[in-house]
Symmetry: C2
Subunit: 226 residues, 2 copies
Amino acid sequence: MKQASRPGRGGRPAQISVEQITAAAVDLLDREGLEALTMRRIGAHLGVAAMSLYRHLPGRDAILSTVVNHLFATALADLDAGPTWTGALTRFAVAYRRMLLDHPNAVPLLATHPVDPATAVPVLAGLLESLTAAGVDQDDALIRIQSVGVFTLGHALAQVGAHPGAADADADADADADADADDAAGADTDAADAGQDPDALDYYQRWFDAGLQALVTGFDRRDAPA
Amino acid sequence: MKQASRPGRGGRPAQISVEQITAAAVDLLDREGLEALTMRRIGAHLGVAAMSLYRHLPGRDAILSTVVNHLFATALADLDAGPTWTGALTRFAVAYRRMLLDHPNAVPLLATHPVDPATAVPVLAGLLESLTAAGVDQDDALIRIQSVGVFTLGHALAQVGAHPGAADADADADADADADADDAAGADTDAADAGQDPDALDYYQRWFDAGLQALVTGFDRRDAPA
DNA sequence: GGCGTAAGCTTACGGTGTACTCAAACGCGA
DNA sequence: TCGCGTTTGAGTACACCGTAAGCTTACGCC
C-alpha cells in the first residue's frame, strides 16, 4: 500500500487531496486542453511537485479516470424521474450533452475512459427505476439507457472533433472571453457553448434532437405489441 | 513544401509510400496496440528511420488519420444499396461495427480522429442516395446516417473499452493464438472477435441490435405522417 | 527529545515527437 | 562522363513525458 492510508495516526499532513487533484485537472483541461494534463503541469497548478501526485493516485490514467467520473457524476447529479421514462431518458441525454459541450476537451477522455460503474450506477438509479417501473425489463432498460448514452457521447465526439480548433486550444487561453459577438438572435439553447459556427451549432442541435427522438420513440414503439 | 512532390523529375527513389506507412501502422496497431504506434516503431517496422516518415506525412497525427480513413474506406467499400433505405442503413452499421471489432485497438482512434469528408462522402454516396431516393430530405438523410454512425462507434467504444485487457495488449502478442476454445455453439456472427467473455459478447450484440433497430425504426416512423 | 509514519521533493532513466543538418541516390543536360 | 538539381533517408539533438527509488520534512504520540 502506497496511498490512501488511515489518517488516524500521525504523519505529515497532506496539502492536496484527490478532490483537489481532480479539480485542478478539470480546470487545466478546460482552460488549456487535453495535452496540458501532464503530471508536472497538474502538480504545478497545485503548487506541488509532479511526483507528489503519486501519493494520492497511482498514475496519470487514474487522474483521467477521476476527471471522467467527476464530470459524469456532477453533470447528472440531480436527474428527476418525472412521469414518463421517455422524458427521463431525454433529460438524461440533454444533461449529459450539456456537460460534454461545457467541457469539450473532456469528450475524448469520456470516450477513452469508461465511467466507473460504481459511480454510474447510483447516478442512473432513478432513471433505471423509471424504466423498470413502466414495465421495461431490467436488461432492456439498461440497453436503452446505454444506447442513449453512447449516442450522445458519439454525437459530442463528432461535434467537438469537427471544428477547426479541435480539442487543443493554445492561442486563446488569455485573450478575449467577452461575448459581444453574441447577437440577440436567440437560439433555443442558452448558448453556453462558444467557438463554433452558429450554423454548425444549429445543425448539430437538430441532428442531436432528431437522433435522440428517433432512438426514444423507436424504443417506445417496441413496448406496444402491434 | 516538404513532401508529396511530383515524381516526374529526378531524385532519390522512395523506398516507402504513404500506403505502406498506413499498412504498417494498421499492422502494428492490431498486433501490439495503440501505444505501439510510435514514429520509431513504425519506421523500424518498415526498415526505415523514424524521421524518414516525415518525408511522406507531416507528423504522427497524420499517420493516425490515414489509418482511420483507410480502415473506414476499406470496411465500407462495397456497400450495396438494396431496395429499402432501412436495410441499407442497417448494413452500413453492421459493416462499420464489424470493422471496429476486427480492429479493437483502432476504435479510440476512430473516436478521436474524425473521418475525412473527402473519403467518407464517396463511400457513403450510395447509402445517401438510397435515402434521398426514398424521399428523405438531404439534410435529414445525413442526420440519419451520422446518427447510426455515432451510435455504432459509441457502442464499439463501450465494448472495447470495457473488457479487462482494454486497448493495450502486451503479454499476448506471441503466445497462443489457436482457437481451440471456440466451441461449436454457433453464434449468429462468425465470431471473428475474440478475447471477451461470450456472455458479454452476447450482451453487446443484443444491445447493438436493439439500439440500431430502435434508431432505424424511429427514423422510419417519422416518414409516415400519422 | 525520540520515534513512527506519511507527504512531498529530488534525481534519474528510458521513451516520445520532431526540428535541423547532412549524406545518398536518382534523372538529366552538357 | 561529369556535375547538377532534386528528392529521400539517416543522424543528431532537444524539450518534454511518465514514473521508479531514495531522501527530507512535518506531524502525533510516547
